[in-house]
Amino acid sequence: MTTSAELPAAEVVGSAAARLLPADTPIRFLDHDGRLVPDAGHGRYAMPRTELLTEAYRRMVLGRRFDAQATALTKQGRLAVYPSSRGQEACQIGGVLALRDTDWMFPTYRESMALVARGIDPVQALTLLRGDWHCGYDPHLTHTAPQCTPLGTHLPHAAGLAYAARRRGEDTVALAFVGDGGTSEGDFHEGLNFAAVFRAPVVFLVQNNRYAISVPLVKQTAAPSLAHKGIGYGVPSEQVDGNDTVAVLAVLCAAVERARNGHGPFLVEAHTYRIEPHTNADDASRYRDAAEVAAWQRRDPVARLESFLLATGALTDEDVGAAREHAEAYASQLRDRLLHDPEVDTGQLFEHVFAEPTPQLREQRRWLEEELRGES
């Protein structure tokens, strides 16, 4: 049993907690028009390298065009469903660029843009949402877990994978995406606690896009910020302007670096906004006004970064044109590749339930084959 003499004094607990606390206001480098703010990075975070920012810009242009194409394809019935991440480009691309190729990413259904930004073939990235197989890419080859739909349930996985990497002597970091709504699930809390107790090199990126389908943040939590949820578990946390790519990258790169150097998990809350409805099937007019959406559109992350990089001379008008052209070509290729229906292979039903199908599965597979032969 612990005696009271062994417990740290209240002041010590207080100051330890203070070190874990996020900044009072979100970390920011750029204002809404893309101009550097006076207290950039709150003096706590370094400006990312210019090449990282120009690369982020290119991938954001591509990501946005991909996302618009996916939305259009859904309207044409080419995808079963599509949860757009328009407006969240800084987080989608920031999460990818903060990682090395060998680091692991744990995405949700919202992260199709991050998948393609990671270099995953767009048709493979959309396999799930096309109604084809559940996951279209190879998680081991891409160091990217299957997109997770049951909210928050992948967070303990990220902690476990990151911990395993440390046990194996690898310097791999895991970055897991989760939404504002997802932070209410039990697994979010268990994931943070496990990560902290086992000092797992994992970064939790909460994209606070203000809504969980129709439920606004005020109904989701009474916490001062979602970043504050880290401190109860001993996980240092930060909040960042999620539409400021410079800030997102600055904070995420620091968090990843920290984790890689053995200092354990980190939680980042990125304040952003979901411009489109939850998915194509959602009617957002039932729960939010157009004025609110318009206000957030004026904080557009792509335009903001573009203005900044043009002003600093890191990008030229030609670079901007080239990025857009490339994105156009990418989108039109994607459109062509998704024009036809995916191939139907009924044998897949019985494969991969286990490493080796059970006798029952072999039998059921034969029944289906017989049935299909009878039909033809």
């Binding site: 997802g182 209410s184 939590t221 039903l349 072999r362 059921q364 034969r366 289906l368």
Partner: protein, 336 residues
């Protein structure tokens, strides 16, 4: 006027709330949005947002909170957004909701309802099409009901809300937009009663939820081919109506069970066991099952191969030893 199953459920909630102040509705997106299937459409607006409200996104919290409210005078009706998202609430359902009455020697009942849209056939991506009824029926202390018709949707939900025990109402997503001419309020047979949806003398077909229309379609075709199927809509899995089932099989001597969920250790297995226990001497053939395969629910492009359809029911009917020959299926070796 023709109304949909979703509308009948909506009216059942409104009527129950009007009759009893203690009935409250909550869950994810059930407030201003009206639920992703619009079952709670307009209820928060019309009856007040203290009677129908959104909660934080946490199913374990939703069900546990409902239990607490039920212990203290309320009758919560909670919505789980989709079948597979009930799993975070598993601990609450199995260790608490189902056992509170038993643990407290009857002192604490928990009159709460968990509504779960379930099943496939709607082109849903993974985790949106599970048939999870077997998990609940295997948990003593939970009643489990599944409407297949619009009037039953209304009546079973009303009865569930009035019930002194916890009831899982599984709503077949595929039938949410099915329509019927029905004047509400309507009361159909109570819990523990199966309904004969189509009489017949040759084979009893047991079905529930979205499998009922499949069985009826098969019965239509079978009748053209000279065999009359008696289609029983089981309606309430717990409590189960042994009597109506046994009477029907006693008459027909043959039985096929149809459901969407995987066959292995599914509800069909229980029904088959009960039929053979009670009707062994009336049976002319083994009782067969037409079910989903023993696989995780497949993606949309493959679901039509997984779901039971009328052809599969008819194929099973054909295998009921009409010529006293053993079923060839069980004589064939399992492929390597």
């Amino acid at each position: 006027m023709a109304i949909t199953m979703a509308q009948a459920l909506n009216t059942a909630l409104r009527d129950a709330m009007a009759d009893d102040e203690s009935v409250v509705v909550f869950g994810e997106d059930v407030g201003p949005l009206g639920g992703v299937f619009r079952v709670t459409d307009g209820i928060a607006r019309d009856l007040g947002d203290d009677r129908c409200f959104d909660t934080p996104l946490a199913e374990s919290g939703i069900v546990g909170f409902a239990l607490g409210m039920a212990m203290n005078g309320f009758r919560p009706v909670v919505e789980i957004q989709f079948d597979a998202f009930a799993y975070p609430a598993w601990e609450q359902l199995v260790s608490h909701v189902s056992r509170m009455r038993n643990r407290s020697r009857g002192a604490v009942g928990v009159p709460l309802v968990v509504r779960i849209p379930y099943g496939g056939g709607i082109g849903g991506v993974e985790h949106h099409s599970d048939s999870s009824e077997a998990y609940y029926v295997h948990t003593p202390g939970l009643k489990v009901v599944i409407p297949a018709t619009v009037p039953d949707a209304y009546s079973l939900l009303r009865e569930a809300i009035a019930d002194p025990d916890p009831v899982i109402v599984m709503e077949p997503k595929k039938l949410y937009w099915s329509k019927a001419d029905v004047a509400l309020p309507v009361r159909t047979a109570g819990f523990g009663n199966a309904e004969v949806r189509r009489p017949g003398d040759d084979v009893t077909v047991l079905a529930y939820g979205a499998a009922v229309p499949v069985a009826l379609e098969a019965a239509e075709v079978a009748s053209d081919r000279g065999r009359e199927l008696e289609v029983l809509d089981v309606r309430t899995l717990v409590p189960f109506d042994d009597q109506t089932v046994a009477e029907s099989v006693g008459k027909t001597g043959r039985c096929v069970v149809v459901h969407e969920a995987a066959g292995f250790a599914g509800v069909g297995a229980e029904m088959v066991a009960r039929v053979q226990e009670r009707c062994f001497h009336s049976l002319h053939a083994p009782v067969l099952r037409v079910t989903g395969f023993d696989i995780p629910y497949p993606p949309p492009i493959l679901e039509r191969f997984h779901l039971p359809n009328a052809d599969r029911v008819l194929a099973a009917i054909d295998r009921l030893q009409w010529d006293d020959q053993p079923d060839p299926r069980w004589l064939t070796e399992v492929p390597a």
